[in-house]
Amino acid sequence: MSYTLRGRLESRLAAVTIPFLAACVIALVIKAWWPVELAGAMLGAGLALDLVVYHRSLPYQPGWAAVPLGVLELCVTMGIVLLLGIDAPLRPALWFFVGSWLVAQVLAHAAFPLARLTYAEDGGELGLAGKGLFLVAPCAVLVVLGTAAATQPPTIVLEPGIHAGPLVLDHSQKLLGEPGAVVRGGIVITADDVVVRDIAVEGGEYGIEIEGAENVLLDHVAVSGASMDGIHARRSSVTIRDCSVRMEGEYTQGIDIGFAFDLPSSRVSECTVTGGREGIVSHMAHVDFRENHVSDTTMRGIAVTEMSMGEVTRNDVENALGIGVYCGDYSHCEIADNWIRTIRPDLASGDRLRHGLAVLSHFYAKARIDNNGVVDSPGGIRAAVGATIEVR
């Protein structure tokens, strides 16, 4: 088809209507803005390419060109997503893009020609409906932006220096720290949709405690000196990334996520956890532990236990006493691509299942392991007390 510029823009706006509405619905359901932001990025990429590239370089666009142009638009959209820091999960975002692309193809090749006799010969123009789109589209964008602005949680910035805790975050908000911002005495989160970013937390019983909250993001936080857990989440769904947790004391734990089996999965990624009895542990929760560095623990480096379901991938566990990675108590675990090094036998415990095991599947747990690197861990990989290990 040979599009006119107006035809390209009108067809683009019309084709994005369905994905845009779908994005609004999805956003409402999952209580996240990324679907709408992604739809906006797709539309922005498409309109920019229409104006700058397609109109000038494609006087005629054969049907098959939809595929390479779709790939190009995907790349540009991903660029916009990265540039604007849109927090869209990759796989759902890709599916959303593919679905939107398919909808656009069906509309352009079937629905628009069905609805408008002269669609093809008018170069993709949609007549009065198309003109209406030019009016409606900015209004829709304004409504969405206005809604976004009105519903965005407030942002609180902590200045550099010591701030007395515990800070209680009991409503949706963003707590951002400037370089050098330290909370002494812990942070307690009891509300959904909370972001804590770039903050150091010292002391407290729990460094950061999350209780009954969903969609919580801890980004680039540093926790130290807590007397029990560095980060402690109960009945919550939390994403923790790029954190540092340093634990001292005999009965402390780095990160503990528990009792959230019926809630969306929690994720801990790219964190460095040092010391404590357990480095990262889950109890009865869906978890995804990936690309973390865990060291110097005295009980287990990473543990997925008490009927949890968890993925433990691409982590680096070293210098742990007794057990490196543990899957226990009816849990189901995927343990893949981890480096597990220098797991020392806990001879003092008298427990043979703590004799320097890199991976232990215990008490009716089911572990599937794949491509893990094990070094200097005399206990190797074991299953015990009704548990199984499937090597893939």
Partner: protein, 367 residues
Amino acid sequence: MDRSCAIVGGGLASFVVYVTLRHGGIEPGEIAVFDTDPDPVSAWRPRAEAIRQRRMRSESDGHCYPRSFPGLAPREALRRRSPAPLVQTVCNRYRPTVPEFLQHVEELRDGSGWDESFSRRRVGRVKAAERGFEIDDAGSFRHVLLAPGHPGLSVPDELGADPRTVHAYEPHHYEDRVAVVGAGMAAATEWLNALAAGAEVVSVRRREPSRRPLNVPRPLFSKAGLAAFQASENEDRVALLARLGEPSYPPGREWDEPLEQARREGRFRVAESVDGEAQVICATGFRRGFAHDPLLRGLVAEHGLATEGRWIVLARDGTIPALTDDVRTIALAGAPAQWTYPAADTLVGMKYIARRFLRRVKACRTP
């Protein structure tokens, strides 16, 4: 006023217009179609048979349905339960066979009411009247579409009286040595036909044919390319139409390989003139221009219509400006409408005119 619309001519262009009017809600009783043969492919079919045409040159939109979608490709895909026609169509490679196209026309004709609207009559005169047009003594009509078809086969003067001469669009067999005059789609088809029949072929041509998939470049099929064409000066438009009328046929191995093989075997060569060949096939198309058509010639003479070269000057919607106003319409379809739409003699071009004619009819229907 008798009926709302009259269509003069009963060929494919008229049929496409008729089907489009019906799609737009115009009842068979509101439309009169005038021609001598009720079969809309009665002129086209023998020509296709004469050149042994197997597939349509047109692509996915080469059908008579009023809507672009679904065309023949999706229907064939459903019928064959194969995605191949759809894949071919997105690659501009879908060309339905001639029998499929003829069947499609037949089916559409049966369900359209065409025969109900058809009147067997050769129209000799169309005359502007108050709020409409009088067509011979058949009555007056508010909206008239003239699709008289091609005004006869074109044969070079020097070959007209030669007993060896046959036009490509007339039934013929192949002698052992055949000269094919012309270099367009029909000529290329005849080269392959004659070679396949075992003949030695001499291609007589004045210029090298261009190789393009369709009659005209693709942008000229839609608004993006048409805007510049329709805004051009009359002389420029005449020149462009002349260039577009030069011979062409599609690129592709299916054409090149048999010709190259025959060339190597000494069975195919190019010459500037006919020599001592036993048969001369004139693949030289049709006579061109309104002056060759008595109905159009009379219309121009009687109403003093503006012309340019061999064309009647038309508006962007295919209507004749001097005779079209708020209450009446007269438009051309098929080859004479190339002034408006360079590919007006294709099915897509016929639909272009038809949709605009429908728009005018609906804007001003007979009460």
